[in-house]
């Protein structure tokens, strides 16, 4: 909202908008009922693909999967209504505990590390010096390729025993081999893959940092506030809407990591289930074991979890996020 239309509204808009239009002022109010009806007609016409698509491919499937989650539907054997059995079975399923643990550890490590890295580098990059465009582009590039199968394969190689990571760490006395064969640390590969993509939130942080009025820093400097004080009392509050946006989006996405986890750990989340991400398990249940009812219950559990986390974040944001120009108290 604070982003001015200068980037969004092309010059043509300004030119045409400034054209004197005598009847302009009351045009909206004096619109005849016919044009209102026309607006409705056009509105529904334009919405038709979306409405059909939503019913057939999103809203409908959501309700259907909710129903499936109360059945023991199997793609070949069929199934029937079993009430809450899937949900109770889930809590007794050792795979559920494993998948939840792996996913939570990943979210709790990857999201904060990635965002701290992106904020630090963004702050470095908003000082005006030469070469910023180059650094920004170079740091952003991993974000575009990190989720590809190709990079997951490269990652496997980098973290294999005898590979670059193993050699590098042996210089510091590590003898645990490559991360990929070691269930204690294999998750770190995926965390690092996520941190590697710090460029995407960094670009958003940079845009936010440039919106902080310079006068605030100047005034604080005059008042004798040190660097740390300025960071805590100006940068963080002024940036809090952007921080909130990044935390929310990164968390929601982290819960749903699939591609790299699938390539690195396979459907079994190897080694020893240490990369058994929640979504990988859903895939294995639904498309390998064909237990689609049970898998639907897992999927709905994910929706609930992400929904609760999102709600908590929005609640917390009410107190923590500062919107300039609004009275927060």
């Amino acid at each position: 909202m604070s982003a001015s239309p200068s980037t969004t509204a092309p010059p043509a808009a300004k030119g045409a908008g400034a054209r004197p239009a005598p009847g302009d002022r009351g045009a909206a109010k004096r619109r005849s009922p016919i044009s209102r009806r026309g607006e409705r007609l056009v509105g529904y016409t334009f919405m038709t693909p979306w409405i059909i698509g939503s019913i057939v491919f999103t809203v409908g499937p959501m309700l259907w999967s909710l129903y499936l989650s109360f059945t023991d539907y199997h793609l070949i054997l069929g199934g029937e209504f079993i009430g809450l059995d899937n949900y109770t079975a889930m809590f007794a399923d050792p795979m559920f505990a494993r998948a939840v643990k792996v996913t939570l550890v990943y979210v709790l490590l990857a999201v904060p590390l990635k965002l701290v890295a992106s904020l630090l580098v963004a702050m470095l990059l908003t000082q005006s010096r030469r070469g910023i465009g180059f650094y920004r582009a170079a740091f952003y590039m991993p974000s575009l390729i990190a989720m590809s199968v190709g990079i997951a394969i490269v990652w496997k190689a980098l973290f294999s025993t005898g590979g670059p990571q193993d050699q590098f760490m042996s210089w510091f006395g590590w003898d645990g081999g490559g991360f990929i064969g070691n269930p204690d640390v294999s998750i770190i590969m995926l965390v690092l893959l996520s941190v590697w993509t710090f460029g995407a939130p960094m670009v958003i942080f940079m845009a936010g940092l440039l919106q902080v009025p310079g006068e605030l820093y100047e005034a604080a400097e005059v008042d004798g506030a040190g660097k740390w004080h300025r960071f805590v009392h100006i940068t963080i509050p002024m940036l809090s809407p952007v921080i909130f946006f990044n935390v929310l989006m990164e968390t929601v996405h982290a819960f749903q990591l699939f591609g790299p986890a699938f390539i690195i750990g396979g459907t079994a989340g190897g080694p020893a289930w240490s990369t058994l991400f929640y979504t990988v398990r859903i895939y294995a249940l639904a498309f390998v074991d064909l237990r689609m009812g049970y898998a639907s219950a897992w999927a709905w559990m994910l929706v609930l979890a992400v929904g609760v986390v999102t709600l908590i974040m929005f609640r917390a944001a009410k107190n923590l996020v500062y919107y300039a120009g609004e009275d927060n108290k």
């Binding site: 982003a3 980037t7 969004t8 509204a9 092309p10 808009a13 908008g17 239009a21 619109r31 026309g38 607006e39 056009v42 509105g43 334009f46 919405m47 979306w50 059909i52 698509g53 939503s54 491919f57 999103t58 409908g60 499937p61 259907w64 999967s65 580098v121 908003t126 005006s128 910023i132 465009g133 650094y135 170079a138 952003y140 590039m141 991993p142 575009l144 989720m147 590809s148 199968v149 190709g150 990079i151 394969i153 490269v154 990652w155 190689a157 005898g162 590979g163 670059p164 050699q167 440039l210 310079g214 952007v242 946006f245 929601v252 591609g259 895939y283 639907s296 999927a299 994910l302 929706v303």
Partner: protein, 296 residues
């Protein structure tokens, strides 16, 4: 908002730099160069892994090769199971191109209705768009699969692109809506007075003004569908129809052990279009993500 920091308001007029400033500037560059080395290491490692002999690839921590071979590219071009590599490139390209066209056509009209027209139910529909933005897609996966197999389109690209033609990609609908709302209202009003209907307004005023959003969404759609793995994993089972991610995954499962270099060469080649796209359009991309992000 200017993203180009070189013109940021905080720049002080150029003057001779003091020694202290020079040191500061050097420290700044050193810090960023350190980050740069870490970020680019995997990229350089894979770049040179493609020309190292198989025995050296894994065990080389240094990206600088000690001996060379071009064999890996030859075996990469051979593809897999008798299907040449260009075929997988073509399959990827068809999916990506259809996705771009679909997003362009559907998101612009959906967003125009949601962002600039008034009709009963508009708010509820927009709420559904926002909700799907945060909703984990896995929850729809199974019924969608059942629907597509009922329609007998499994093992075609139909399931991978149909959502894009129906405006179901909430992220881009939302982006277009935000963009359209930034266009002054007076514009439609003036056009209405001149006798233009909504179709005219949409095609001759809104579409041309939407160009920056269209460019950004097209680039992102291309890259994302180029990388997409889950869709092809679920829906495509015939190797002749595989896009690159599916090829890489199968190759990695079966032949990578014996031909590591071929795998690396294939990986590198599969990333080339994305990186090229990025280099050509990086200004657009970064501006797009910054504005849609901040505005969200």
């Amino acid at each position: 908002m200017s993203l180009d920091t070189a013109t940021a308001p905080r720049v002080i007029a150029r003057r001779r730099r003091t020694p202290a400033e020079r040191v500061k500037s050097a420290v700044w560059h050193l810090a960023l160069l350190a980050v740069l080395v870490v970020v680019l290491y995997p990229a350089f490692w894979v770049l040179t892994a493609t020309i190292k002999p198989n025995a050296d690839i894994i065990t080389d921590i240094s990206p600088i090769p000690t001996s060379f071979t071009w064999d890996h590219f030859a075996s990469a071009f051979d593809g897999m199971a008798g299907v040449p590599l260009w075929r997988f490139f073509w399959n990827s390209f068809v999916i990506a191109a259809l996705s771009v066209v679909g997003i362009l056509a559907s998101c612009s009209i959906t967003a125009y209705a949601l962002g600039r027209l008034e009709f009963p139910g508009r708010k509820a529909m927009f709420a559904v768009v926002i909700a799907t933005l945060l909703l984990p897609g896995q929850v729809m996966l199974i019924p969608q699969y059942l629907i597509f197999s009922e329609m007998d389109v499994v093992n075609t690209i139909f399931p991978l692109v149909i959502g894009k033609f129906l405006g179901l990609d909430a992220f881009f609908v939302f982006m277009y809506v935000q963009f359209l709302r930034g266009i002054p209202r007076e514009l439609d009003q003036a056009a209405t007075i001149d006798g233009a209907g909504h179709f005219r307004i949409f095609f001759s005023i809104m579409l041309p003004l939407l160009r920056p959003a269209i460019v950004t969404s097209s680039i992102f759609t291309f890259i994302w569908s180029w990388n997409d793995f889950m869709g092809p994993l679920i829906y495509l089972h015939d190797i002749n129809k595989f896009p690159l991610p599916r090829l890489l995954q199968s190759y990695n499962n079966t032949e990578a052990v014996s031909n590591y270099g071929g795998m690396m060469a294939m990986t590198l080649l599969s990333l080339v279009p994305v990186v090229l796209f990025f280099l050509v359009f990086q200004k657009f991309l970064i501006k797009g993500i910054a504005t849609s992000g901040v505005k969200g």
